[in-house]
């Protein structure tokens, strides 16, 4: 419990900073939306664009002039920001002990290594939930001036769930890397390269139909905002796949950290 609280306190500043980034982003985004709301010219352009182009630019199936459509575009960027935050927290929370030379101290405490990992994971999780709530709150507040309907709220709630799963994936992978990497310095850079790699994959997978299978490797493609909006459902295949990734990462984290030779 003390480790958990200690970690929460240590990460509080970082949560605030990420929160401010999300809020700024949403405010700027919605300020721009005001120019688009109900603008028929823009709608005409969007209707005529071919599908391949929209796909490549992550604008599939959205009518930017409606609130839900606009939020669908924002979703991609929220997903990016929240994933970056989650993978940073995950990879940092374990490896920072070695960087700051506090690991000897932590491990001489009368707690097992697995409890240490549990406490740190929970702290990371609370941070992720905090950031998610900030995202949700700022979106709801910004949306108020555009008469949100029930369809928008359904979409928003579903997309928040999708964002949460993505956060969990990257948090779990980050924690696993923090536990498994022999050189603590590499944990966060590997986490970042995975994140960038999967982001690029998500774009490449849309360029060519034959590369569609690549979407299984990129969490950024697991939850298609178009589907969230139009069908109001999440593709269960990807939920199971996500849960699998999270489970494997966490089990891997516990196993490797218990056997780990620490850098002192």
């Amino acid at each position: 419990m003390n480790i958990f609280l200690r970690e929460l306190k240590a990460n509080f500043k970082s949560l605030i900073i990420w929160g401010v980034i999300v809020i700024l982003f949403a405010v700027v985004g919605f300020a721009k939306f005001s120019a688009y709301a109900g603008n028929p010219d823009m709608l005409a352009i969007l209707n005529e664009l071919p599908q391949a182009f929209l796909d490549a630019f992550n604008m599939q199936a959205f009518n930017l002039t409606t609130l839900s459509g606009f939020y669908g575009v924002m979703f991609t960027y929220f997903a990016l920001i929240l994933s970056i935050a989650a993978s940073m927290w995950g990879s940092d929370i374990i490896s920072k002990e070695e960087r700051d030379k506090t690991v000897e101290f932590s491990l001489t405490l009368p707690v097992t290594r697995s409890r240490l990992v549990t406490a740190k994971t929970l702290a990371g999780l609370v941070n992720c939930i905090g950031l998610l709530l900030i995202t949700w709150g700022v979106t709801v507040i910004s949306a108020q001036s555009y008469q949100p309907d029930s369809e928008f709220y359904d979409f928003l709630n579903l997309s928040i769930l999708a964002l949460f799963i993505m956060q969990l994936i990257f948090l779990a992978i980050g924690i696993f890397l923090g536990c498994a990497m022999k050189r603590y310095k590499r944990a966060s850079s590997v986490a970042v390269s995975l994140l960038l790699g999967t982001y690029f994959l998500s774009i490449i997978s849309e360029l060519n139909k034959n590369l569609g299978f690549l979407k299984y490797f990129s969490p950024f493609r697991y939850f298609d905002p178009g589907m969230l909006l139009h069908d109001s459902r999440i593709d269960m295949t990807f939920v199971w796949l996500s849960l699998g990734i999270i489970l494997v990462s966490m089990v891997g984290a516990y196993l490797t950290y218990a056997r780990r030779d620490l850098y002192i």
Binding site: I45, Y77, N208, N210
Partner: protein
């Protein structure tokens, strides 16, 4: 400049330089190899776009994106290479001096009979030569892969050269701004979040701006200063915007020397 500091720094960067170079080259390869299949879809797009008034397309940031031509498509791919280059350069910039303080080697280094300005110069040059290696790899892989996959299409060399020439300034921007920010802060615990925030943040700003139209906010991002679309389409730089980048580099550089020579360095006691 001190040769031994330079060599030490360069050696420390080398592994990361190789990793980044290989990744960027691979990225360019994947994108360029997909060109021929994408070109057909893009041709459809051009037909659709021809129907719209120019102002609307400009507002949408899609004026002149001709993805069916080799260079048009490459400018789209190049953006992703830029993201990597930005994060790499920002990474080096943020870690350049801060790493010494984090690992308690700063007092050792500063006890050497070398001026602080000299230390900074050597470190900067070492980081810059690392970045230049990556830069060269981008040059080689761009030309190599374009020629490999172009088939019977032709392209103009000049816009491509201009595009590749912009990399140097682009890298310098992130290197020096990263350095200056790291010196403004008291302590950097982990470099990666900062580098990500600067590199990726600028990218998101630029794309988000693209999608929603021009605004003053987008003027601060180098992704807009060296917008591949603009360079390919006009065969020239958007000079006023490039000057913003150059000014930012100079200010950060001067500021970094000023801050570093006056910096209070923590030591182990």
């Amino acid at each position: 400049m001190r040769m031994n500091i330079f060599q030490q720094e360069f050696k420390m960067h080398l592994r990361s330089v190789i990793t980044w170079s290989v990744s960027v080259a691979a990225l360019i390869f994947v994108f360029v190899s997909l060109f021929s299949s994408f070109a057909q879809d893009a041709a459809l797009l051009n037909e659709a776009m021809a129907k719209f008034p120019k102002e609307l397309l400009t507002a949408f940031g899609m004026n002149g994106v001709d993805l069916s031509t080799l260079l048009g498509y490459f400018s789209f791919a190049f953006l992703f290479a830029q993201i990597c280059l930005a994060i790499q350069a920002a990474n080096y910039g943020f870690s350049l001096v801060s790493i010494e303080e984090r690992e308690w080697t700063a007092d050792f280094l500063l006890a050497k009979p070398v001026g602080r300005a000299q230390i900074l110069t050597s470190k900067l040059l070492a980081a810059l030569s690392g970045l230049t290696i990556t830069n060269m790899v981008v040059w080689i892989s761009s030309f190599g892969f374009i020629n490999l996959f172009k088939g019977d299409r032709t392209y103009e060399t000049k816009p491509l050269l201009l595009l590749l020439l912009s990399i140097v300034v682009f890298q310098l921007f992130f290197l020096t701004v990263g350095l200056a920010v790291s010196l403004l802060l008291k302590r950097i615990r982990s470099v990666t979040p900062y580098a990500m925030a600067l590199g990726f943040g600028m990218y998101v700003l630029s794309v988000f701006g693209d999608m929603l139209g021009e605004s003053t906010l987008e003027k601060i991002t180098p992704f807009k200063h060296f917008d591949p679309n603009y360079i390919i389409q006009h065969g020239a730089y958007d000079l006023p915007l490039v000057m913003i980048s150059v000014a930012a580099i100079i200010i950060s550089l001067v500021g970094s020397y000023w801050l570093y020579t006056r910096r209070d360095i923590p030591s182990v006691t």
